[in-house]
Subunit: 463 residues, 2 copies
């Protein structure tokens, strides 16, 4: 979008130019969508003083895609990749299907199961004060929402809605890109299959997917893939035009490949040629390709795509209000590493299912053992090797982030601030969709995680 000044474009936008040249490809955000990584210690914190505020970048205010037809400076097109640069991405995250092929996660056709509403505490929660990391000034919960470009926030306490707000292009009957929150759905599906005895997490990946035998995944165990402790030559550093992320993005892009393209076609072909780097089992390394490799394993043992399995195991069982959907590669394979879009209220239902040890409105929908496995977390020592400066003592298990804090909170996390944050002690499930301009939770954790803790403290005191 030529009307964007460089100062308004996101970090990822500036960094993709080299990759675009290299691959000669209009990049769809296969991977740009995928990472839920904290900005790691080695990456500089980006100063973005010229960024538009949440209010000023509200997609309705900006007029994106409004009018019949939209004015030429209000159009957003997927083809050149600019649809996922700030501030256009604030529109795009709620309209992913308008830019790319997708497949459905069917809720079935019956009546949704109601999401119980308690006495709403919107005002009380908005006024809660907390102190952001590295700050001496307190901030209100309401201010943290704008600060983090929140598109929707819903909080359940003991299974009842106590807080629900939408901003910008999102509404209760719309969907939003979950990005790397998708990984936690993939990991949960795998954990379910393990608990059901369908999948043996101690087996090597190649036993399930022989096509991966000669890749780095071949001699990794399913468990190592589920916990991302594989040793893979793969970088998701957006600032590096030679990072493997761009080749992966090109492979997964569902648009026709450019003339002369000779790389892998689709996610699975890419996975087959991933090289090993280091040893499996040594350290946590956040790499999206693990989620897609796990998606392949899941599909091989169930003969269902992750979209079909998610529908069967979760979406149809929970009485979801809306269908969800996945972006797909040109072979129709759902992007298990970051392709899910869903409604905020349905994300909350899923979060509550997890908090409730797999029970939903009195029925055991998924095995409690799967949730126990998630919640126990991974090995914090493995995690520490990944140098997440701000996430001390955390671990990663079944593609969930486990805080090991005093409340035992754990979370699904997406790169622009999306989350499903579960606090078992506070009996709280907090779900957020967001479109933060900086692609990395390091940019928003300092005003998010302490805000979530303040709500948890408040809800526990109310008891």
């Amino acid at each position: 979008m030529s009307e964007l000044k460089p100062s308004q474009t996101s970090v990822q936008n500036r960094s993709t130019r080299g990759a675009k040249r290299r691959f000669g490809l209009a990049l769809l955000p296969a991977l740009v969508l995928s990472t839920g990584a904290q900005a790691i210690a080695t990456a500089p914190v980006i100063a973005t003083p010229a960024l538009l505020s949440a209010q000023d970048s509200d997609p309705n205010k900006m007029g994106w895609m409004q009018g019949f037809p939209p004015a030429s400076d209000k159009r957003i097109k997927a083809a050149d990749g600019s649809f996922f640069t700030f501030p256009a991405l604030r529109y795009s995250v709620s309209h992913m299907r308008q830019f790319m092929p997708t497949v459905e996660v069917s809720r079935g056709i019956g009546a949704p199961l109601p999401l119980p509403v308690s006495k709403k505490l919107d005002a009380a929660i908005d006024n809660l004060k907390f102190t952001p990391w590295d700050s001496k000034q307190s901030m209100s919960f309401a201010d943290s929402l704008a600060n983090n470009y929140t598109d929707g926030m819903l909080i359940l306490h003991k299974g009842e809605v106590v807080y629900e707000r939408y901003f910008g292009a999102l509404a209760e009957n719309k969907k939003h890109a979950a990005m790397s929150v998708t990984k936690s759905f993939t990991g949960t599906l795998a954990a379910i299959l393990v608990a059901e005895g369908v999948l043996d997490s101690n087996k090597k990946v190649a036993e399930y997917v022989p096509e991966l035998k000669d890749s780095a995944f071949g001699d990794a165990t399913v468990r190592q893939v589920m916990d991302m402790t594989t040793g893979l030559q793969y970088s998701e550093d957006y600032a590096d035009p030679n990072a493997e992320i761009w080749a992966y993005s090109a492979a997964g892009n569902p648009l026709p490949k450019p003339e002369g393209y000779t790389g892998p076609v689709g996610y699975f072909e890419y996975l087959m040629q991933v090289k090993k780097q280091g040893e499996h089992g040594d350290a946590f390394g956040y790499k999206t390709i693990n989620s897609d490799a796990l998606g392949w394993v899941i599909s091989r043992v169930t003969d269902k795509s992750v979209a079909e399995l998610l529908s069967e195991k979760i979406w149809q069982r929970l009485g979801m209000e809306q269908d969800a959907y996945y972006q797909v590669d040109e072979l129709g394979i759902p992007f298990a590493g970051g392709g899910l879009s869903a409604g905020l209220r349905d994300m909350a239902r899923f979060g509550e299912l997890i908090r409730n040890q797999g029970q939903w409105q009195g029925e055991q929908i998924i095995p409690a053992a799967a949730i126990k496995d998630i919640q126990q977390g991974g090995d914090p020592e493995d995690f520490a090797k990944a140098n997440y400066r701000q996430l001390e003592g955390w671990s990663y298990r079944d593609m969930w982030w486990v805080t090991h804090n005093k409340n035992g909170a754990f979370a699904a996390r997406g790169v622009h601030g999306q989350t499903i944050y579960i606090d078992p002690t506070a009996e709280m499930v907090l779900v957020r969709f967001a479109s933060h301009p900086v692609a990395g939770n390091g940019a928003n954790d300092g005003t998010s995680l302490p805000a979530y803790q303040a709500v948890a403290d408040y809800l526990m005191k109310k008891n």
Copy 2:
């Protein structure tokens, strides 16, 4: 798909090759999807003896897109246009969103309104006999379904389901391309706006859409567009590589335009340069661009896309079970001439709303005057000039086909055999999704319309 033998490809496949060369473009089926036209008298009836039967072309049996990843000879890709050639199209019609960008028609998030089920008459109706046109041998209703590559058939009698069957890739919780049945939704929306006084059908199109002033549409009335009695230089003859349909298809294709493309971008830009041919008001001429011009008028007076308006006026009001969706051009404009996909049961709900004069479960959802206007039909003399040999005495009104038969039946019709067939006298609504290999209802009407009449006769006798 290289594995297709020429004898198995559809008429439209053979005829598109020239157009592909001419536009240098991977054709998405913007227009291939659009026409609900009867094969007209001047077009030869195509003999297709080598076509696979409905059973043998069942997408599950053929294995399209099955496996992880699908085998190379089982893949269907939108990019080269082959996804809409028989037999692949039998898969594609139920998976349109997997091949292209789409926008949603939201049902909202509440509970669906139940579709009442009467005593099911599946077996009795399957055994009904009728005599196909130009035949001396009778055929059973069940055989007519396979004969016409039916994917789903649902019949309501007095508002209750008496028959419901799914075949191939369709199921009760799936969606199917409605193609030109879409036009009847567009026409109904316009008829509603006219009945509400929001739209004056006597006004010239240019009064609502000044951008169309210098096009053929400029001095046509909205009514002439609604009834397709405009005089437009525009051919939908698939057999002619120079037919305007191909340029329209290229304009509406949401994929990136090929290098050097200088034509119009999006449906609306195309409409602006349509030339006049003949006079408005003289004769019916089935041309998809009327529906998209009407979509533009509708969006201009409501400031909503047809997808948004359909959600607001119909989908959210009827308690639909599933969201529906439209394919879009690269500006995000829904294809009002043929882009809708929806669930069969929801199509039935819509048909019942129309049969019931705009009432749904006791409530007046849309003005009865709009339905009266549809049902009265257009001028059969105008219609006769279009030479539909097999549709003697019919007319076209508000983008519905009106039979003027003794029962006063009228219908929405899609090019591969889709229909919403409403028989007010028999108090019957019959909805069908189909994927007939021949793109033109002339190929299936002879075994469809008399079958529908047989069901109507049976239901009336049962009273």
